[in-house]
């Protein structure tokens, strides 16, 4: 027979002790004791905590770098897109300025009808000074029509296709334009050259010219309308035995920066060839 075992008081004693400790702890009576016990552990805890945080940063760093790189790439794309937008807007501003200047020019000459055209190319031959524009016979352009910029005379149409035209600039070596010099009120002939330098020729030696005198189209010959500004005289050359004097001219149009031009569409050049006497003397 198994002997009767008396119940132990040990668990009850431990329970009561624990309750007592808890009551003392909640009452704050154990704080000095806890402080004395935990103080040596604090540095250990700090050291461990620091090392753990460092380790956590190390483990998570690659993901953060990838995120940052992605964000960086997105921001760079945005910057590039905005820069492109700025360039496009700047171009639009320039275009608006040019169109506004052309509009002012057109308003100042209300007797003319204009067709605006963009310059789309330059003649590949270095011997010729021609430009290509993006308007042609479909837009009412015809051979011989004068072309101007906001500043002044550019040239005239030399050839036309349905959607484009070729313009002979006044700087072309074969170009000759009848001009009038102000204020002397004397006529001359404007000639181009290979180097795009312009000169006014066939000016009588009796006329007094000054650098700065204005040069306008005279309308003689019927190739250009009268009174379109061409440029200013920069120097005058006169030889003692020559019948005529010559003057260098600075054009008002910057031919290297031509982007938009106006074609005067209601001007029809005159064909004066039949009126020129035949040197052979035939009737």
């Amino acid at each position: 027979m198994k002997p009767f075992k008396r119940p132990s008081w040990q668990p009850l004693a431990v329970g009561l002790l624990a309750i007592g400790v808890l009551v003392l702890a909640f009452g704050g009576y154990l704080n000095p004791v806890a402080g004395a016990l935990l103080r040596p552990l604090e540095p250990v805890q700090v050291w461990l905590n620091t090392r753990f945080l460092a380790f956590q940063t190390l483990v998570n760093a690659p993901a953060d770098t990838a995120n940052l790189q992605q964000e960086n790439a997105q921001l760079r794309e945005e910057v590039a897109a905005l820069q492109t937008q700025i360039i496009a807007l700047q171009q639009q501003v320039t275009e608006v300025e040019i169109l506004s200047a052309l509009l002012d020019f057109a308003r100042a000459q209300p007797q003319n009808e204009y067709q605006a055209a963009a310059v789309i190319g330059i003649d590949p031959s270095p011997f010729l000074h021609y430009i290509l524009i993006n308007r042609g016979s479909d837009d009412g352009l015809r051979r011989g029509m004068p072309v101007v910029s906001a500043e002044g005379l550019v040239g005239r149409i030399a050839a036309v296709t349905a959607s484009a035209a070729r313009v002979q600039l006044i700087t072309d070596p074969s170009s000759l334009v009848d001009v009038r010099i102000q204020p002397a009120e004397v006529d001359g002939i404007l000639a181009g050259s290979l180097t795009a330098a312009l000169s006014v020729e066939q000016i009588p030696v009796s006329v007094s010219l000054q650098p700065g005198d204005l040069v306008l189209t005279s309308g003689l010959g019927g190739q250009y309308p009268a009174n379109i500004l061409v440029g200013q005289l920069t120097s005058v050359r006169q030889e003692a035995t020559a019948l005529f004097q010559q003057a260098a001219l600075d054009p008002v149009t910057d031919f290297r920066r031509l982007t938009i031009v106006l074609v005067i569409t209601n001007f029809r050049p005159l064909d004066v060839t039949p009126l020129i006497p035949d040197p052979a003397g035939s009737p």
Binding site: I122, D123, S125, P126, Y130, L132, A159
Partner: protein
């Protein structure tokens, strides 16, 4: 048919670049000639087909872009093509030497014939002016660009005709 088509595409790009970009970068009055150099980059490679088609395409495209008559451009570019084809066969088989020789001859032919045509029509451009202001600077620019464009055309040919380029 393929070489002619490829030639037309390549030379159309060269002509557009010529009339918009290259003409704005002159040295004195001379300018480099991209269609000429593109044509030479193809025609000087003996095993590549369609050199004559490239010559016709160059003549037509440049003839349409310039105020000089189209027949003059066609005749000039065909003469340059004939020269480029015959150089490796009849003179030397040294690509670099042929390239520079063809560039020299092509530039002189192109500007020389254009000057003669304009002179006959009464243009006031003198020979000395044309030689000093146009021909010599153009020649220098063409020499500078000849090698890079020849290399570029080699890569282009390798894409279209890899076997022919490998056998060069």
């Amino acid at each position: 048919m393929l070489p002619a088509f490829m030639g037309f595409i390549a030379l159309a790009i060269a002509t557009v670049l010529q009339t918009t970009l290259v003409v704005r970068l002159p040295l004195l009055e001379g300018i480099a000639d991209l269609p000429l150099l593109t044509l030479l980059g193809w025609a000087l490679r003996r095993r590549l087909p369609g050199a004559w088609a490239w010559g016709v395409a160059a003549g037509l495209l440049v003839g349409l872009a310039t105020h000089l008559p189209i027949w003059l451009m066609l005749a000039t570019y065909l003469a340059i093509t004939g020269l480029a084809i015959s150089l490796p066969r009849r003179v030397w088989d040294l690509p670099i030497l042929n390239l520079f020789l063809a560039t020299l001859a092509g530039t002189v032919l192109l500007h020389g014939l254009a000057w003669v045509y304009l002179w006959v029509l009464g243009s006031p451009i003198g020979f000395g002016e044309a030689f000093n202001q146009v021909l010599l600077p153009s020649l220098l620019l063409n020499f500078l660009l000849a090698l890079p464009i020849y290399g570029l055309m080699g890569e282009f040919a390798k894409l279209v005709f890899p076997d022919e380029v490998a056998n060069e």
